[in-house]
Symmetry: C2
Subunit: 224 residues, 2 copies
DNA sequence: TCTCTTTATTTTGCATACAAAATACGTTAT
DNA sequence: ATAACGTATTTTGTATGCAAAATAAAGAGA
């Protein structure tokens, strides 16, 4: 009787995860062509599992397959973001509404603590830490919806937004507004006011989207 | 100089489409195990393109891959529908809101015509034709959003709902309500009142969801 | 008769080999 | 020098073969 059998995941799954990492961390940059043979030697696998993994990533939108011409790391365009952000908005809103019914008191308490931590980072102008805790809050609320499908949808879209890699520098004004949104969010969550939380999140994410798109346009034309 | 070169799609793509059809039409029933060798002879291809196609379908959620144990046609459970329907609701709502800004007058006119046709089917109690035109309206509005990502999300979820294959028999009451919702929808669309259209669609789809889930529960316990 | 073990068969996972398409390169002609 | 053609090389697409895992089957012991 073996007690610790390590059932290692199929190769193509491992390869898929590895590719995801490489894309996420930018080693495989957007627009880059993927050479199968090259990747094979690099990952130490044959073409079959690599290709299977690539199909999977392609149908998730991370890769773009060009018939007889290989695959490139898909590029997240401004147009893509313009499409994605409104969707994120209503989906995260829905997650918030559901979370108000589904989350346990302890989980809400947890969000409250992270929220307070985030406020501290805001007051000390610790941008990076602020973003990290901010993201954590959104993730906890998404999880809190208790809706697996919704989580997956949001995560998939969220990954694309992150891959866009814009330099997010907020103005004092938009930052203050974001924080005030979050104050209202945690309040609505603690009162389990789903409708209100949904509205606040929708507004909040829409504003965030506007900021992002604004920043990106500036990057395209920074001299203006 | 060849003028009509038919660039036939890669095999694995063709296979993927064929599998999708087979699953959609129920030839490959939910829960059914897929034998690679069997499918290969049946489709006249080797295992490699078949397997690649299967990975792709799996990451779209149509198949479920069990390591070393093959693939089964994924089963859409009541829990899945319970998760999916609220998402459909807000996504279709968003599509409606966007459609009010994006659709051309001619397209709206087209929806109006189909709407009137649908009302005719309702009055003559032509259930099947009613559903068909109903679905067409929802699809046109989704398209009308001009948001490709949103369309894909909705279509993907919508496909799962359809695969659940419940017997949709509406009561006179819920049918009347659905029609009245549609009257309000076409009105809001023609007035390009995005906010109102969004609200109506959300309510409408939620109600449809309630009906569906109700019906399914009855099927599970029909004697009650 | 039932259960557990052992063996045989099927089925999946991976690697390799071959074919076809696309790209790169060099040559020739204008 | 440039453009166009043809060849060589690279790269992708598909098929097949072998190994490992899972399932089915058969047999031995209780």
């Amino acid at each position: 009787m073996e007690s610790s059998i390590i059932v290692r995941a199929p190769l193509h799954v491992q390869v898929g995860e590895r590719l995801r990492e490489l894309i996420d961390q930018g080693t495989l940059a957007a627009g880059m062509r993927l050479n199968e043979a090259e990747l094979c030697t690099q990952l130490g696998v044959s073409r079959t599992p690599l290709r299977e993994a690539m199909r999977a990533l392609a149908s998730e939108g991370l890769l773009e397959l060009q018939p007889n011409r290989g695959a490139i790391v898909s590029i997240v365009t401004v147009e893509d973001l313009t499409e994605i952000l409104p969707i994120m908005s209503v989906l995260e809103g829905l997650a918030g509404r559901l979370a108000c019914s589904c989350m346990g008191d302890d989980k809400i308490q947890e969000v409250r603590e992270i929220h307070d931590t985030m406020i501290g980072h805001y007051q000390r102008k610790e941008l990076s830490e602020y973003f990290q805790t901010n993201r954590l809050i959104h993730e906890l609320i998404t999880e809190g919806s208790g809706n697996q499908t919704l989580m997956e949808s949001i995560n998939s879209l969220s990954a694309k937004v992150r891959r866009a890699r814009f330099t997010t520098e907020m103005t004092d004004d938009s930052w203050a507004r974001a924080v005030s949104d979050h104050e209202e969010m945690i309040d609505a969550l603690e009162k389990r006011d789903g409708i209100r939380l949904e509205q606040v999140i929708i507004r909040h994410v829409e504003a965030k989207g506007t900021t992002i798109l604004g920043v990106i346009k500036n990057e395209y034309a920074p001299q203006s």
